[in-house]
């Protein structure tokens, strides 16, 4: 079930009602929310719910087994086996096709009969996200940072519909305790939640969908037919599109959770205002960044084992982060580029710490230069992320830097305006938004609903017809 649909609006009204009616009865409430979440997930394909239930069962069994091991070595093995079992379905769904085709072709080249069954596997929506959450749970139990939860709590933690299909990747300590706190039905921040939902819809429906159709898809589809200007604008447009698409989804998810009295961690914090790649990753897909840091980079040794190992760990983390997005070389290159950016950033910081490199002066133009550099580097990465192959990405960048002439009919005023709005939201002060929310919150519910209804109408009218899926659903 997609968020910006009538189906979801009706579903949410029923869930909202049931949620608050059953709020005082923990058992009934949890059963209701699990059922609602499974219906939400099964709306795509009813068979998916077996996968979700299976991952839940494996994670819970793993956590129980891990928690019962007193011997540290056995505990670690139990965790490793648990993680392998939890991540198995993700590896199969995401990488089997890639693996089977490459092994078959390698076998043919080597004149062997090594041919794994050629089965095409459809990737169930959201599996990457809830698998990572399940791994968090098993590892946190192993580290004794979180006790084993009940079967019901684990099932609800992994299936809770606001985060189910594209995050945020919520850690067990952030959500499971909230399941046992009776939410206060007297103090609902409806304006804060509504602001997030309507803002998210605006970003997704009006900005992201428009830019995708108007310039990004045509240019990335066949860069050889476009000149440098259109390619440059399309790359920036994609940067804005993916931000508005993904952060729009996250805003809606956080807003929906807020309406039910839940707090989710922030996932985006004006990422394009960053002045370095390190800062970008502290602001972009924050829950994935910290997951990679806490469950991959630090276990690999982080920065505790010398400079070279730090750089290796950064590269491994970012390469795997790239591969998480899909079994394709262009994602690996994207991850590798960001790994390289981070390594260079660390190296520069170490040179500055040793006094070899001077610290840049704290002036506005240095800040502007840093911002431009960081944004350009991020955009170069996005070319590999969006292109359907490394070859296409290189061809685009080649045409861009060799200043190819070509038509510029796709660079229109609405496209530039949409890009400007998408970039402006990175920089506008937060105070006016807070003042508007505060003013709206003083309204009576009926005028408040009328105002929100008009805002929703404006969003659906401004956006293109039809419902485009969110980019991150494919991951």
């Amino acid at each position: 079930m997609l968020f910006p649909t009538v189906d979801f609006a009706l579903f949410f009204c029923l869930v909202f009602l049931g949620h608050w009616v059953l709020n005082h009865n923990a058992r009934a409430w949890k059963a209701f929310m699990i059922a609602a979440s499974y219906i939400f997930y099964g709306w795509w394909n009813p068979r998916y719910i077996f996968l979700l239930a299976g991952v839940t069962a494996v994670a819970q069994l793993s956590a129980i087994v891990v928690s019962r091991q007193e011997d540290q070595r056995r505990r670690m093995w139990a965790m490793a086996i648990g993680i392998a079992a939890t991540i198995g379905p993700l590896l199969f769904f995401k990488y089997y096709g890639f693996f089977a085709v490459n092994v078959t072709n390698a076998g043919t080249t080597l004149h062997t009969t090594l041919t794994p069954p050629l089965i095409q596997v459809a990737l169930p929506v959201g599996v990457s996200f809830y698998t990572f959450m399940a791994i968090s749970y098993v590892v946190d139990v192993y580290r004794r940072e979180f006790p084993v939860a009940s079967w019901v709590d684990t099932a609800l933690y992994l299936s809770f519909f606001p985060h189910l299909v594209a995050g945020p990747i919520v850690r067990p300590g952030e959500l499971i305790p909230q399941l046992d706190i009776q939410r206060d039905p007297r103090h609902l921040d409806i304006v804060g939640a509504g602001w997030l939902i309507l803002g998210g819809l605006f970003k997704k429906v009006v900005i992201a969908n428009y830019l995708a159709a108007a310039i990004v898809d045509p240019v990335f589809g066949e860069p050889a037919r476009h000149g440098s200007l259109e390619i440059a604008v399309a790359i920036v447009a994609y940067a804005v599109q993916i931000y508005c698409d993904f952060s729009g989804y996250t805003d809606i998810a956080i807003g929906v959770a807020k309406m039910l009295g839940f707090q989710f961690p922030q996932n985006f914090d004006r990422p394009y205002s960053a002045r370095s790649i390190q800062e970008f990753w502290r602001r972009w897909h924050m829950t994935l960044s910290r997951w990679l840091r806490d469950y991959l980079y630090i276990p690999l040794g982080g920065n505790r084992k010398g400079t070279v190992r730090t750089y290796e760990n950064l590269m491994i983390t970012m390469l795997l982060g790239g591969l998480w997005h899909g079994a394709a070389w262009h994602f690996v290159v994207w991850g590798g580029l960001h790994g390289a950016y981070l390594v260079v950033g660390h190296w520069k910081a170490s040179l500055r710490a040793r006094g070899v490199l001077a610290t840049p002066p704290d002036t506005w133009w240095i800040h502007a230069l840093q911002w431009v550099s960081a944004f350009v580097l991020v955009c170069v990465g996005w070319v590999f992320f969006r292109a359907d192959s490394v070859g296409t990405a290189l061809s685009m960048l080649g045409r861009l830097v060799t200043l190819q002439s070509g038509p510029s009919s796709l660079v229109t005023v609405p496209v530039l305006l949409a890009i400007a709005i998408g970039m402006a939201v990175q920089f506008v002060p937060r105070a006016p938004g807070a003042a508007i929310r505060s003013a709206v919150s003083q309204l009576h519910p009926v005028p408040m609903g009328i105002a929100a209804g008009f805002a929703l109408f404006a969003i659906t009218t401004l956006g293109p017809r039809g419902v485009a899926p969110f980019i991150y659903f494919q991951f």
Binding site: W20, L118, G449, F457, R465
Partner: protein, 344 residues
């Protein structure tokens, strides 16, 4: 879970409210939106498949549209839509995402090859200043072919007009009128080669542009009426001397759809055999597995390639490129299309 609320009341200036009042806000929001957006919602519902969901949606939306019309809100909503650059009276189907704009008028050589054709003819020789005009028309499958055609056909020799529109077909002319659109394409782009791939959404009643039912699906006469539409469409496409490669529908992972698709393919092939300058490309047998079943993979010499989308209906990028190359090769074989326009 405790009986007492553990969350302290917020101390922010922003006012909070009880869940009951919040529900009022949500319901009023949705109601206001539904009233303002009712005409558009109704048009979307009318375009849906004939069935319970459509019937229920229309039963709910009819009174809302009545309210919207009688309060003057429809005019205001239409004005808002126009201000946002959307034609409120445009066909609800066939969104023009990924569709290339057509020239405002036909090319200079528009009437040069306008004569009655009784048998297949050769296509003209393209030149850099008089490129071959290639249009790709149909549903979402054609949209995929269109994007592939952009890469397969060489920009130096061929100009590609991507005209595929998702969710469209020849059954529901009320949703999107392909007959009228094909006429517009012929008049304005005058394509030399037209790749047609359509029919994936046509397992339903045949409706006319005005919404009246021509023939219900599942009836004995459905196939004859559908064939008449296919024939009419192909005749429009070739009416100005264009050549058509009609790409048949491939098999799907869902076997329950096979019978219907094979009947459609038989119709496409019959029409192609009957009409001059129309060739049929058999994608079913080209991409089926060795035992005739569905396969997501294609063995190209010694290499295996994944060519189908995981949805079991569409192709992936690689598959569309392969399909487009094969369609172009058929045009070379049947219509003498110059291979330099597409050969690597």
């Amino acid at each position: 879970m405790t009986d007492e609320f553990t969350t302290p009341p917020p101390k922010r200036r922003r006012r909070v409210m009880p869940a009951g009042r919040a529900l009022v806000v949500i319901l009023v929001t949705l109601l206001v939106w539904a009233v303002l957006y009712a005409p558009e919602l109704k048009r979307s519902a009318e375009a849906g498949d004939v069935g319970t969901r459509r019937t229920v949606s229309l039963a709910i939306l009819d009174p809302l549209v009545w309210v919207t019309d009688h309060t003057g809100l429809t005019a205001a909503a239409n004005a808002a839509a126009r201000a946002a650059g959307r034609d409120p009276n445009a066909a609800v189907g066939g969104v023009d995402v990924g569709v290339d704009p057509l020239p405002s008028a036909g090319p200079d050589d528009h009437d040069q090859h306008h004569h009655k054709i009784v048998k297949d003819t050769d296509m003209r020789e393209p030149s850099p200043d008089k490129q071959l005009r290639v249009a790709i028309v149909g549903d979402s499958l054609a949209q995929g072919v269109g994007f592939a055609a952009d890469s397969v056909f060489k920009p130096f020799w061929a100009e590609v007009f991507k005209q595929g529109r998702i969710s469209t077909g020849l059954a529901r002319l009320d949703y999107f009128d392909w007959m009228a659109q094909m006429r517009t394409i012929v008049e304005r782009a005058d394509p030399d080669l037209i790749l047609v791939m359509v029919g994936e959404n046509d397992n339903q009643g045949l409706l006319n542009p005005d919404g009246s039912l021509e023939q219900d699906v599942g009836t004995f006469d459905w196939a004859a009426h559908y064939q008449e539409r296919v024939e009419r469409f192909a005749k429009i496409a070739t009416s100005e001397g264009g050549h058509v490669v009609w790409i048949g529908l491939p098999n799907t992972s869902d076997k329950s759809r096979w019978d219907f698709i094979q009947r459609q393919d038989a119709i496409f092939q019959t029409v192609a055999d009957e009409l001059p300058n129309v060739a049929y490309f058999d994608s079913w047998n080209t991409f089926a597995s060795a035992d005739g079943g569905y396969s997501a993979f294609y063995r190209d010499g010694t290499k295996v390639r994944e060519i189908r989308s995981p949805d079991g209906v569409h192709f992936n990028t690689d598959g569309y490129a392969l399909l487009t190359e094969k369609a172009a090769q058929l045009a070379t074989k049947d219509f003498n299309l110059d291979p330099k326009t597409y050969a690597p």
